[in-house]
């Protein structure tokens, strides 16, 4: 699946997007956050306060317990500050 990162999540991770191939044990968005956090210091820093990072699957806001099965695109970003 394609992963996108925005704002300070992008800066901490060090890239705007990448292709992810998580193992089958990663079933939910929460699992994915835990798995990504183990991939390096930048990821760990991006997700150090899990509640502070929002997620979307295929461009729809989701919670941590959402299943990633079948999703083509996951995005992680801080709470929104538009308007």
């Amino acid at each position: 699946m394609k992963a996108l990162y925005f704002a300070w999540v992008r800066e901490r991770v060090g890239r705007a997007e990448e292709e992810l191939n998580p193992p089958p044990t990663v079933e939910t968005v929460g699992d994915l956050v835990a798995w990504l956090s183990g991939r390096g210091e930048g990821y760990a820093r991006a997700f150090d306060k899990p509640a502070g990072v929002r997620a979307a699957l295929d461009r729809v806001h989701v919670r941590r317990d959402a299943s990633i099965a079948g999703a083509k695109e996951v995005a992680f970003f801080p709470p929104m500050t538009g308007g």
């Binding site: 704002a7 995005a75 929104m80 500050t81 538009g82 308007g83």
Partner: protein, 153 residues
């Protein structure tokens, strides 16, 4: 039915508001809100707005669908800019047409609340002394304001 645009360039609020009523005889009210970049007492040189292309448009469309399901609207236009925006420049427009003002005022307010809390945009402040201050934090008041619309009518 709603017109939604996410763009780098400025827009003309007068043209957008007029477009909602031009040539129609059923519109009795158009309410519009324009959000501007303010300089915070001279300390802010510019805002830099990042967005999630694709999801930004879709999330605004979902908010517009909710507004249309909730109130009898005759039209709506939402424009949100991204990229560098200097103090005094426009950032966002919400304009809503309805038969009566009550629906137009309420829908415009709901759309703005949803834009602030659900549309994937992030503001970064660039200070007058050249420092990039960093990402602006979301406000609790905005979440509380948006929560007003999620309960029953």
């Amino acid at each position: 039915m709603a017109t939604i645009r996410v763009q780098g360039q400025d827009f003309d609020p007068g043209v957008e508001v007029e477009a909602l009523a031009r040539g129609r005889t059923d519109v009795g009210a158009v309410v519009s809100f324009v959000g501007y970049c303010r300089d915070e007492g001279g300390s802010l040189a510019a805002l830099d707005l990042e967005h999630y292309p694709g999801m930004a448009e879709e999330e605004i469309a979902r908010a517009a669908d909710e507004a249309e399901a909730r109130w009898p609207l005759l039209g709506a236009t939402v424009i949100h800019r991204y990229g560098p925006i200097a103090p005094g420049e426009r950032i966002v427009l919400v304009a809503v047409a309805a038969e009566h003002r009550g629906a137009a005022f309420a829908a415009a307010e709901m759309l703005m609340d949803y834009l602030k809390t659900r549309a994937p945009f992030w503001k970064r402040a660039i200070r007058s002394d050249g420092a990039v201050e960093g990402w602006i934090e979301s406000k609790k008041e905005d979440d509380q304001s948006a929560a007003r619309w999620s309960g029953a009518d």
